[in-house]
Amino acid sequence: MRKTTFCTSLAVAAAMAWTVPTLADETCMSPYIAKIQGQEDYVYVWTLGVEGMGDEQDKLVTIDTNPESQTFGQVVSVLSVGGRNEAHHSGLSDDRHYLWAGGLDTNKIFVFDIHSNPRQPKLHKVITDFVEKTGGLVGPHTFYALPGRVMISALSNNADHGGRTGLAEYNNDGEFVASHWMPTDEDLRGAVKTGQHADGYGYDVRVKAESNVMLTSSFTGWSNYMMDFGQMLQDSAAMQRFGNTMVVWDMHARTPLKVLDVPGAPLEIRCAWDPDHRYCFTTTALTSQLWLLYEGEDGEWHGKAVADVGVPSEIPLPVDISITADDTGLWINTFMDGKTRLFDISDPHAPKQVFEEVIGSQVNMVSQSWDGDRVYFSSSLLNNWDKTGEADEQYVKLYHWDGEQLAHQWTVDFYAEQLGRSHQMRFGAYALYGKRPDAEVKVSMAE
């Protein structure tokens, strides 16, 4: 029987990873979130609608991922939300009852109920006043679970639609709690500028709880991420409008402490799980480097480039990354060449690439099970940045990883099924809610 644990500290999660060999969950989630033991039942895919395809709407696509199910590897639910919003990232509440998914263009946030019936999510709530409530934040991006709350990193602002932005905190009922703007040269908000930049840009957010540290990275604003990719590359002014910083925050106080120079648009952040591993990683989109953010012996957080990803001069464009539960491996996807690469990060100061494989003509997101045996890939980056023509493949693919090779299991072709462009993947499981897909209920909610 699968069991569910709700222990949520980094320390506990790491300890359980050592003692329970069948843990399964993606490894990039908040340390405050409920964890799944055993096989994930579904993957929820936040999908961009495509004009002229199907109902043309953004949608939450549910794929059956339980190999014991008769519909394994098939789409079992499609929930359209009305219109297109530049569907991008999604995240789970700490109790995993709800999936939050954002629209980078319309600033709408769609909150899906995934616990009442994990096979058929329902649209629970739509937040339509994100810009107004947050004091001008635009582009809700990362949805990161905190106890009873969701921290949302934004990409832009409504004053100039550039990259200056911040974080917004909502409670689990979808009510606004607070905004936390990024430090800038004009207003460092008490932070120390350690290098050349304090651009105030934002992208991802992660917490290293043992250090009481929150890290944010930086990308670009609405005026760029909604621009045609080819056009932007030819626009030298636009190419200057990318983030070059990461910010170290006091997590408990929600105050910025340090602004670090990390040139070239540092995107996804993944932190080590072992409580004694006081470090996180990111990759830079424009300079194709792997960076280590770490707590030094002086107790301060520092950043340094520790490896190249592919050949930086060829602009492979690192996108999503995924750390293994034992902190020894880091999957890095590169959008332009469609490859996934595995880096051995056993020595975080000297990572080495140990594997690479082409997943498709364009690959973006990667999610792996806690045991690392199952690795899921999806394809879409942004509506105006995805490849065109034959190269515009849109999929979710499942591979098995045996430690040496990826073995393809199945592909769901999102264009063939008239769904749209597949972006972020999040896992669901009946066991989280004391439910079973069959009639013989072995666990139940307390009445």
Binding site: F6, A34, P147, G148, E175, V177, V443
Partner: protein, 230 residues
């Protein structure tokens, strides 16, 4: 109604013995939550940060240790409250025993800070009313409260009165069953502790990752520095 668990759980006894003995670390240090140990960082200074209201606290009917019925709001509003959901059989060292141990550590700190103690109330409420009767809760809490610290142990009449409270606070629990389908008496649950101000607003929600006496007392003092209308 069954009264199966008059004796505190083994995990709780171990936990309490560790706290009482002043141990900050044990051999199983790697599995212990931060709340069992010395905090590995310096928390932000009292009054240097904000605790924005997260949501409104919720009322509900509870039973006090003497069996009398009360409303949660009768126990809130006059003081800042730390509100924890537990059950006495809980054996997860980083679950309810952690919450109890951190409150116990906090109590020791409050005894040295009577000006904070007199403005604070600790509430530990069971989500297992079938076993955790008022009598059991009273026995469980004996020797814990008092000494200038208001620490009360609550339960509910039954699941019907309990469930709305759990739902309002997002404290979901799942009964655990063994391989033969028998209820083990245990619950899977996510540890949550709530900081509630005198205007009945939730100002922080603590998880295993940062439930620590040093943080709690700083947050209490930070709230008490506010003017009532903050």
């Amino acid at each position: 109604m069954k009264h199966l668990n008059r004796i505190p759980s083994l995990a709780w006894l171990v936990a309490l013995s560790l706290v009482s003995a002043g141990h900050e670390a044990v051999a199983q240090d790697d599995i212990l939550a931060p709340g069992w140990k010395n905090l590995s960082y310096t928390p932000p200074a009292v009054g240097s940060y904000q605790l924005p209201p997260i949501t409104e606290a919720s009322d509900g009917t509870v039973l006090l240790e003497d069996g009398t019925e009360s409303n949660l709001f009768d126990l809130m509003g006059d003081r800042v409250v730390l509100f924890s959901f537990i059950y006495t059989r809980c054996n997860d060292i980083n679950g309810c025993p952690l919450a109890n141990a951190v409150f116990h550590k906090l109590q020791a700190k409050l005894q040295e800070r009577p000006e904070i103690a007199q403005a604070t109330r600790l509430l530990s409420m069971s989500f297992d009313p079938e076993r955790d009767t008022p009598e059991v809760m009273k026995e469980f809490g004996q020797g814990l409260g008092g000494n200038g610290v208001d620490w009360q142990f609550l339960t509910a009449q039954d699941y019907d009165t309990l469930q709305p409270i759990l739902g309002d606070y997002g404290q979901y629990t799942i009964r655990e069953y063994d391989e033969s389908g028998e209820y083990t008496g245990d619950f899977a649950h996510m540890l949550r502790v709530f900081l509630i101000d005198r205007e009945l607003r939730i100002r922080n929600i603590y998880s295993v990752a940062f439930l620590h006496a040093d943080i709690l007392i700083n947050d209490l003092e930070t709230l008490l520095l506010e003017s009532p209308s903050s």
